[in-house]
Every structure is written in C-alpha cells, then in structure tokens.
C-alpha cells in the first residue's frame, strides 16, 4: 500500500467518524433547541389566545380564519377532565399535497360558565426543512473537505516526498560493483537529510568493504598461484628425472597432485566469492538449447566410454540472460555430476522445455541429508578429484539469477530440476 493511501485512509476515516458523531450530536442539539422554541411558541400562542378569547367577546361570534395555525374551539357541557397535552401528529397538507407533521397543543378553558377544549395545531414543516438544510450543508462540506484533503495530500506527497522517491530510485539503481558515490537529492527536510546521510555513509562503507574483499580475493589468488606454480613445475621437472627410483617418483607425484588439488580448490573458492560479490557482470542472452547441445556433445565421448545411455529431449529454446562463464560452469558441473555419480551402464536424461531444465541420472543412493547437497565440502564420495564445491557453485549461480533448483531422488534416480 502506498504511503499516501495509508495516510489518506486514516485522514478520511477519522474525518468520517468526526462527521458522523458531530452530525448526530448537532442534529440532536438543533432538534431539541428548535423543539423547545417551537413549544414555547405554542405556549405563547395559547396564552395569547386565552387572553384574546377572554378579552374580546366578539371573537366567539366572528368567524375568524387564521391560515397560519389551526385553532379549534370545541365547546363542551361539563368541565373536561383533560390535562394540557402536546402531541405530534401527521395530517394531510392541502398545499403541499402530502402528509405533513404537525404539533398539537390541547388544553381546556372555562369562559362564562361554558367549558371549551381548545386545540392549536402548528405545522412542523419549517423546522424539518431547516434540519434537512443543515444536514445537506454538512454533507456538502464534508465531501468538499475530503476531496480537498485527498488532492492536497497527493500534491504534498508529490512535492514533499520527491527526495524520498529520488533516494529510493537511486538505491534501486545502486550496484556495489560500480564505484562512485550514490546520487541523492538535496533536501531541506531533516528526516530526508538524515536518511540520505545515513545511506551515503552506509554505501561508502560497503563500497570500501567490497573493494577490500575484492582486492583480497585477487591478491590471494595471485599470491597463492605463484608458489603453487613453483611447486607444480619443480615437481614436474623432478618427474622427468630418470635417476629417481619408483618410491621417490611416487612421493614427487603426491606433491604434484596435492598442488593441483590446492589450485583447483582455490579456483573454486575464489569463483564462489566472485559470484557472491556479484563480480560477474557481463550477461548475454544464451540460447539454452544450443548451449546444452554443445556441452552435451563435448561430454558424449565420456558418456560413451562409461557406456551410459543418454536421452536428450529439447522441447523448447529458452533464452536466458546469463554470464557465459557462469552458464558454462552451471551446465558442465551438472552434467559432470550426472556422469560422475552414475552407475555402470546407467542412464542420463536431459530434458529442456520453456521454463525447466531437468537432468536425471541413475546412481548410487547418496549418504547423508539431501538438503546438505548444495553445501560446500559436503561431498558424498571422498575422492581426491572432487573439490566438493561443484554443487555449491551450481546453487550460487542459480541463486544469482533467480533460478530455482530442486534436487530429488526416487529409487536411485537422481533428479536436478532447474526452473527459470
């Protein structure tokens, strides 16, 4: 949810609550005030009536039509046993041609020994209209208020939050492998100033750490390779010495082998670090089908030598944007694994469709937890030619490109499924 809609939601809902409560309360206050005034008017009319009724004898003979209020005088023989009552009633209004509300004041009076019941009926219409009018005004006000609020909020958000969105965009664009400071917008708002300065510090520190790590990896790589090359080349020279007996030759061979293993290990580890540090930047669109065909072809000789059956099924030609080297490592590691851990006269199946690459192979059951398969140095067989990094590399590469890799095993059929 956007910040703006969230604040708007709070604003609008609190305004609505205030409006509803306020409307109810003011309606009640208005109503009771008007009621009271109205009743007072009725009572005043009563007093006036009694005064005029008692004072001007002529009234009783004259037919006097009062169009405003309706006054009904009913003469009775005996003293009416009624209390003075106020009553609301609905009657048909001739003018408006509909039922209208009226209020009736009924009271008894005695004049010259004659008893009367007098009813004064007064239309409530003006009061109702007033309340309705006030309600309409409030409704209009509230609508106008909410619309203004939303518009102002949107405008403020666009203006006030601009540095924030700018910073957000800058962070999104940020790539640690690219040197240089991050481009942030100057702002006078303290909060954004603080955010930007914290971000700036963080990024500078991260870039420094990244460079240090990169430098370390490169230095370590270079500095280790040199002595390794010396060990390897000296061992190789010794291997050519005809004066060495078999035992000595074997010892030299072990030195040579160990140097080779160390070099491979270092190579694998620095590759992992490089992937983790995002140092493989140049990606290119790769036609996975053609890529697979080429790599499978390269390995076909090995597959034949091991007398494995290869089943290829390429149903689509998905194009993935990957770094070429990493794509190569990914595919060859998976294929090599399928060959390496296969059984005698086993089977390899490579299936490719629009969104999935599946490599299946027969093989011995793996020891240990399959979930740890992608961890470093969790190799199943303790052979000296396996660095234990192959699947860790595969996983890292998949993670880097958001490819999902799932390993499953079903009665000695191992299955690696990559979905992209």
């Amino acid at each position: 949810m956007k910040l703006l809609s969230l604040t708007n939601r709070y604003y609008i809902s609190s305004i609505l609550v205030i409006f509803i409560v306020g409307s109810i309360v003011s309606f009640q206050i208005l109503k009771s005030t008007i009621n009271r005034e109205f009743n007072e008017k009725l009572f005043a009319e009563r007093d006036q009536f009694i005064y005029e009724w008692h004072t001007y004898d002529g009234l009783r003979e004259v037919l006097y039509l009062n169009i405003g209020d309706q006054i009904e005088v009913q003469s009775v023989d005996h003293r009416p046993e009624i209390e003075e009552t106020l009553k609301d009633t609905v009657m048909f209004g001739a003018y408006e041609k509909k039922d209208l509300s009226f209020r009736k004041l009924r009271f008894a009076d005695e004049l010259n020994g004659q008893y009367y019941i007098i009813t004064i009926t007064k239309s409530l219409l003006p009061n109702e209209d007033l309340i309705q009018g006030i309600g309409e005004i409030m409704l209009f006000l509230i609508t106008a208020l909410i619309i203004t609020l939303v518009l102002i909020n949107r405008w403020i958000a666009g203006m006030v939050l601009e540095p924030f969105y700018y910073t957000l965009a800058a962070i999104k664009e940020f790539n640690i492998t690219k040197p240089g400071p991050i481009d942030l917008m100057d702002t006078n708002v303290d909060e954004f100033k603080e955010l930007n300065s914290v971000l700036d510090k963080m990024i500078v520190k991260n870039q420094k750490d990244y460079l240090n790590l990169k430098e370390f990896t490169e230095n370590a790589s270079h500095e280790i390779q040199t002595p390794l090359t010396i060990i390897k080349s000296k061992a190789e020279l010794l291997l050519q010495e005809s004066s060495l007996d078999e035992e000595a030759l074997n010892d030299v061979m072990h030195i040579y082998e160990a140097a080779g293993r160390l070099s491979k290990l270092k190579h694998g580890l620095s590759l992992l670090t490089k992937i983790e540090n995002n140092q493989f930047e140049d990606s290119e669109p790769i036609n996975l089908k053609r890529f697979l065909e080429k790599e499978v072809n390269n390995l076909e000789e090995l597959i034949n030598l091991k007398e494995l059956t290869l089943e290829k099924s390429y149903k689509a030609e998905p194009i993935l944007v990957l770094n070429y080297d990493l794509a190569y490592i990914l595919v060859t590691n998976l294929l090599n694994n399928a060959i390496k851990h296969n059984t005698e006269r086993g089977r390899i199946a490579v299936t490719l469709n629009e969104s999935e690459l599946i490599i299946e192979n027969t093989g011995r059951p793996i020891k240990g937890d399959p979930a740890l398969l992608f961890e470093r140095f969790k190799k199943n067989s303790h052979t000296k030619d396996s660095s234990g990094l192959g699947l860790a590399l595969v996983k890292k590469i998949c993670d880097l490109y958001g490819i999902k890799i799932i390993y499953s095993v079903n009665s000695n059929l191992h299955r690696m499924a990559l979905s992209f």
């Binding site: 090359t229 080349s233 050519q240 090995l302 030598l305 091991k306 192959g390």
Partner: protein, 225 residues
C-alpha cells in the same frame, strides 16, 4: 629457436627454461618490464612467454608494443589471474595463447610448439615421429602412409604426446589438456586409459609401433625405442 621468458618469479622462469631447453630451445629470461622492453627492441624471438603481472608494468603493454613493431614472434600470455577479461583482451591485442597459473610445463611446451608451428610454416606443418605423420592443421594422422581416423580427443592426445616426446606426462596434465580446468571427474583417468587404448590400437593396426609407456602411479611417456 629462441624463446624469451618474461617472468618476475625466478623459480618459475628457471623451471620453464629447464624444461624448454631440453626440447632444444634457447631460452632467455628477464624479470621486469624495462628489461623486457629493451630485449624486444633489440632482438627477435620465435616465441615469448609473457607474465601479465610484472613489478614495473603490465605484460599486456609488451604484447601491444610487439604488435606495433610487427614482430613475428609467437606470444603466450601467462597469468595468475584466471580472468576471462584478461584473456579476451590479451588475445584481442595479438597474443597467440593464454595460460593460467599454475600450469603444467608439458602443457606450456605443447602450446609453445603449436604457436611456433603456426608462425613459422604459415599454417602448413607436419610432425614426423618415426612412421607416424601428423598434419596439425588438417588434423590428420597417417601411419606408414595410411591415414587413420582418430576422434578429436585421440588426436589431441597424440599431438600432446608427440609434443612432449620422452617426457613423463602426468594423468592430471593429460586430463587438463583434454578437458580443461573444469574437468572434475573422479574417473577421468579411466577415460584417459580408454582413449589411449583406442589410440594404441589404431596405430598398431596400421603396423605402427607401440611408443606409449605407462609409468606406474604417475602417468605415461611416449618415446622412440
């Protein structure tokens, strides 16, 4: 044949020159950029082995200078960095090959020979090993005048052996030569054995000799009896 080794590490340079001198090459060694600069301006070499990282400069600059001088010498870049960037750049500016440390001397030797072959015979080259004749450009092999058909790996294997005649080749170096450094297969040595068996068979069938000897625990060696 003169070879210039530009390498700041004395021990590496020594190993390389000892290995190559036994092949009949004359090796000179310089350990910094300035000396290398001087040498390439004064003399010409058939092949140069250039380390990229020198204490006082980059080997890539030397490669560029050589191209500027229209030098005919072959150039092999050697780098401790296994970086594709350097490799692509090195080959782009005119190096003939690129090798990552740590390398096998046998591999370097094979590459030096390949580079010199390409440079000196303008792509026309045949190697004769007794009755075996290898046409390197056409990738054809004949035994006693009869062409034998080899797979790609068998051909590479034979050429690698002939380039390193009389040398012990470790199984590791053969595996790396055939499959590159991503070869991480436990039973790759079985594959080497299988390829060798087929290669021997094909040569023997045409009346060729069996020149490849197994050195127990180490590898193989090809030599004339």
């Amino acid at each position: 044949m003169n070879i210039l080794i530009i390498e700041d590490e004395k021990d590496i340079a020594q190993s390389v020159s000892r290995y190559l001198e036994k092949e009949g090459y004359h090796c000179e060694w310089v350990n910094n950029f300035d000396q290398a600069w001087e040498k390439i301006n004064l003399y010409s070499y058939d092949c140069m082995i250039v380390d990229i990282m020198l204490p006082d400069g980059s080997g890539l600059d030397i490669v560029e200078k050589l191209k500027l001088l229209r030098s005919k010498s072959g150039i092999i870049i050697v780098s401790a960095k296994n970086s594709l960037e350097d490799k692509v750049k090195g080959l782009e500016i005119g190096a003939d090959d690129y090798l990552t440390k740590p390398f096998d001397l046998s591999e370097l030797n094979a590459r030096v020979k390949a580079v010199i072959r390409r440079k000196s015979f303008d792509g026309q080259s045949q190697i004769i090993f007794n009755e075996i004749v290898v046409l390197t450009e056409e990738r054809k092999v004949s035994v006693k005048g009869k062409t034998i058909s080899l797979t790609k790996k068998e051909f590479d294997l034979l050429l690698f052996f002939i380039s390193n005649e009389n040398r012990v080749l470790t199984k590791e170096s053969i595996a790396e030569h055939l499959w590159g450094d991503h070869m991480d297969i436990a039973d790759s040595f079985d594959f080497i054995y299988a390829h060798l068996k087929n290669l021997r068979k094909k040569i023997l069938e045409q009346g060729g000799g069996d020149y490849i000897q197994t050195i127990y625990g180490v590898g193989y060696k090809m030599h004339k009896p």
